[in-house]
Symmetry: C2
Subunit: 254 residues, 2 copies
């Protein structure tokens, strides 16, 4: 590391859900100016190699180690982009970088650290489906890796009873197949059996699939970890090929 | 209208919060292919005029009329882009287009209608602040134009008590200055007085200002209609210049 410390910076950048046409120019410019790209293997694979650019790909579930490595390099004068899918601030790398910053030496607080937003999966999925998040909504990560399942249940209940539409990240994995079935039970009770639920798998990728059913017809197998799930509110309806939630509130249609 | 009907289409496109570097290539391509741009005056002003492109700028609060006009033009064979700030699916034009579609003639259901996502204001604001939406969160429109204020109060209470971080669109206007004061009271009770609240005005514009205080120190004048307001959960903290919400749940820090 021979560069002067004052030139180092760290950017946490959102690459969007997969389609390169959804990457912002701001993110492209940061990648073009970087000396190092840090991220989970499939996201680093999206970055074109070039002379002077070092690609640091790492496995999943090492977010804080990866963030610490990125901060160390920025402190040593490197221009580092941590790549994240979607938006880095939504169940992605930005919080991990700040967790690592908080645990690190005090002089890291002087580093030039910026977060560049991206198109998060729920908004890409919503756009493909129509406008299911057109009214108040909640975004919930259904993985219990970092919080107790009981808390997830209570949030599903609270959001459904308050009439929020909902978007779920990480709805279902092989290691916890029963939980999404339980989530559907809670949603049927809190939102009503006729409320629409949409599944969008591999959003914006060539393999994209979407479907919408009433909650009473939803089955756990309709989702996996590559699926965004969006539940409407009681006013959400299908019109032709489109599913949307009106801007006005439930039961108060003009 | 001499063009063949089969060439018409309607795209609802998100221009992001203001900075041109946050517009996606997908949206730029749609604007380049359009014959007509429809939208609220300040958003249509962002589109460069060119030969063969008709700009239809309209005032605020005529969303469904504007959407109907756009659908009529698409049905007549025009290539129409309805421009929206932020993401069109988040408190913006996409739901208005589907409301107009639902109220229109049946043959409009065959139209080629697509929604193109954009960087919504809450995610641009969150990125400027740090990562305050790094855990489960709710997006709430605080305007009571299209829903009763009592419903907004109940959603603030439900989201706060369930531990969601929150982002507020349209927090305060001159016509209802007292409501945001009431919202702050509810939040202090539901989230605790020490929970952090951030204000981001004119996000990504040259006039941008951001600030963060504890709920006990928040005053209604800190927000106006050009401000995004983000409330953290009980684990949200400031670290140097950055405010972030950890990925792990409240009270369950690893």
């Amino acid at each position: 590391m021979t560069q002067a410390t004052e030139t180092g910076w760290l950017v946490v950048a959102g690459l969007g859900p997969g389609d390169e046409a959804l990457v912002t120019q701001e993110v492209r410019d940061a990648i073009d100016a970087a000396t190092d790209i840090v991220g989970y293997i499939p996201y680093v694979k999206r970055i074109a190699p070039r002379d002077g650019l070092v690609l640091h790909a790492s496995d999943n579930r090492v977010e804080v180690d990866r963030a610490t490595h990125a901060l160390e390099m920025a402190a040593a004068g490197r221009r580092v982009v941590v790549v994240s899918s979607g938006d880095p601030g939504v169940f992605a790398m930005a919080s991990a970088v700040f967790e690592a910053l908080e645990a690190g030496p005090n002089d890291w607080l002087e580093l030039d650290i910026r977060v560049l937003p991206g198109i998060t999966a729920m908004l890409a999925a919503a756009a493909q489906i129509g406008a299911p998040l057109g009214h108040d909504f909640a975004a919930i990560n259904l993985s219990d890796n970092l919080k107790p399942w009981s808390l997830i249940e209570s949030r599903l209940r609270a959001a459904g009873e308050a009439g929020f539409a909902m978007a779920f990240y990480n709805p279902r994995s092989k290691s916890r197949p029963h939980q999404f079935a339980r989530a559907l039970e809670i949603l049927r009770a809190a939102c009503g059996e006729d409320t629409l639920i949409s599944f969008a798998r591999d959003v914006t990728k060539p393999t994209q699939e979407t479907s919408t059913v009433a909650l009473k017809d939803a089955r756990p197998e309709m989702a996996d970890m590559r699926t965004m799930v969006i539940v409407g509110n009681r006013d959400t309806r299908a019109i032709g090929r489109h599913v949307y939630t009106p801007r006005y509130a439930e039961g108060s249609a003009p």
